[in-house]
């Protein structure tokens, strides 16, 4: 009895279910990773936008044009955009390495100064991993346009007009800035690939390929083509099924007047 009271005091009210869900998710990811390490290859649905990235980098090499990867306008610590930004930065590292390995220049930008520092490190590591560390120079591949949404939009549009990239990847947190940058990308004939959560309608209008919902988070794992990391995507599906089951059962029970799941979830 006393132990229960102590636990109730330790865990913040209404967050027990979230904690259990997070721990279960962690176990599922770790289990899937270890199963993959044991030799099992998971069958993952191909994402068209990801396949297009490789083809488009090749197109850039043929046309002699650079690649632009933009992780958006969020900071790393933002609760709404931090995770999307992280997914964008991971894709930036892989794309920059793939591009450098076939002699294509990859540039990036952001409106947040934290991201600029991270992007510089990612670009340096990507070029080193591609076997071309001598190509790296601070400020050569990473652009910063100040902290505002529209100063970023104008700066990024200017960069697109100046560099005329053959491929633009919008992967991260965006707002109305994508309308300006995406349309400018269309003007220079770039292939545009997008992935975000909030500004999906804008990206859907502007982009040739779009990653919807979880796809952008899976993309950062799938693009590495590492079978172990790809295994964690399988666990994402298990968690999705579990969440859907809890929601469905909760809705049915609530409809018949039983509020057990509603109460457990702390709503």
């Amino acid at each position: 009895m006393i132990q229960t009271a102590v636990v109730e005091q330790l865990i913040r009210t209404g967050r027990s279910f979230q904690l259990v869900f997070l721990i279960a998710s962690g176990i599922a990811v770790y289990y899937a990773y270890n199963v993959a390490k044991g030799g099992k290859l998971w069958d993952i649905r191909p994402i068209e936008a990801l396949d297009a990235i490789g083809e488009s980098i090749g197109r850039c090499a043929e046309m002699g044009r650079p690649v632009l990867v933009t992780p958006g306008i969020s900071s790393m610590t933002s609760s709404s955009g931090g995770a999307q930004m992280l997914a964008g930065l991971t894709v930036l590292g892989e794309v920059a390495q793939q591009a450098a390995s076939i002699g294509v220049e990859c540039t990036t930008n952001s409106s947040n100064q934290q991201i600029i520092i991270a992007s510089e490190a990612i670009m340096r590591n990507a070029l080193t991993a591609a076997g071309k560390p001598e190509l790296y120079a601070p400020g050569k591949y990473v652009r910063w346009f100040g902290g505002g949404q529209f100063s970023y939009a104008v700066g990024c549009a200017g960069q697109i007009l100046e560099e005329k990239p053959g491929l633009i990847i919008f992967m991260g947190y965006f707002l109305a800035d994508t309308i300006v940058t995406g349309e400018t990308g269309a003007r220079v004939g770039a292939i545009k690939i997008g992935g975000t959560l909030g500004a999906i309608p804008f990206l859907a209008m502007m982009c040739d390929y779009l990653m919807i919902g979880e796809e952008m988070f899976a993309a950062s794992a799938l693009i590495t083509k590492d079978p172990f990391i790809t295994g964690t995507i399988a666990s994402q599906d298990w968690i999705k099924v579990a969440a859907t089951a809890v929601m469905s059962i909760g809705v049915i029970l609530y409809a018949v007047g039983i509020k057990t799941i509603y109460t457990i979830m702390g709503i």
Partner: protein, 216 residues
């Protein structure tokens, strides 16, 4: 020495990520004063480092613009020189009169807000151009998309809404039912995806952003 440095850099970044992430998670879920104080400390460091990155960002942009102005091989170098002068003017003004003074705030708002409104005004042209490409009717699916888009526009246009209230009602139904269901699916799956991404980062499986290579 190189290998040792690489090892330290790799593991230091991982340790920092794990401590920062666990402190943030801990303070969200648990009511433990020690965890709260660790999070406050980590957050204070984060704020300090963020302030310093602003200076680094300024240095990066200045170096790039100065190089471009020296070379003058692009048509845009006068704009870069203008931007550089403005950066210096704003920094000097902030240092002398202070960021919260009436002078600074008046100058800031009268330029920033004006420029933002100018861009907002231009967005409609970008929208129209983008919509022209997106909503061209080619197949049954694109026809459904275009008709839905027209109905949503009608919802927000009183001169259509008043004479044809049925169009407005149908547009509202589209927003409240299929659109709402789809957008919530995106939010839920996106949330699950971000949880799994976070777990991969904490477990050290997500190496894209912290990939440290040998031989540097």
């Amino acid at each position: 020495m190189g290998a040792t440095l690489t090892y330290v850099r790799l593991n230091l970044s991982r340790v920092l990520i794990i401590v920062g992430a666990l402190a943030a998670l801990g303070t969200w879920y648990f009511s433990v004063p020690m965890v709260d104080s660790v999070f406050k400390e980590v957050n204070a460091w984060q704020i300090n480092i963020s302030s310093f990155t602003l200076f680094t960002g300024l240095m990066t942009i200045s170096m790039r613009y100065i190089r471009a102005i020296q070379r003058r091989d692009s048509d845009i170098w006068p704009f870069q020189a203008y931007a550089l002068v403005l950066i210096i003017v704003w920094v000097l003004m902030g240092l002398t009169v202070g960021m919260y003074s009436d002078t600074y705030q008046t100058a800031y708002l009268s330029t920033k807000i004006t420029l933002h409104i100018a861009i907002l005004g231009q967005i409609i042209f970008y929208f129209t151009s983008g919509a022209y490409r997106t909503f061209r009717i080619r197949t049954l699916r694109t026809a459904a998309l275009a008709i839905s888009a027209v109905l949503i526009v009608a919802l927000n246009a009183p001169w259509v809404q008043n004479p044809f209230p049925a169009a407005s009602n149908f547009a509202m139904w589209l927003l409240n039912n299929p659109q709402m269901a789809a957008s919530r699916t995106v939010v839920i799956t996106g949330g699950i995806g971000s949880i799994v991404l976070g777990i991969r980062v904490i477990l050290g499986l997500e190496k894209g952003a912290q990939r440290i290579t040998e031989g540097e």
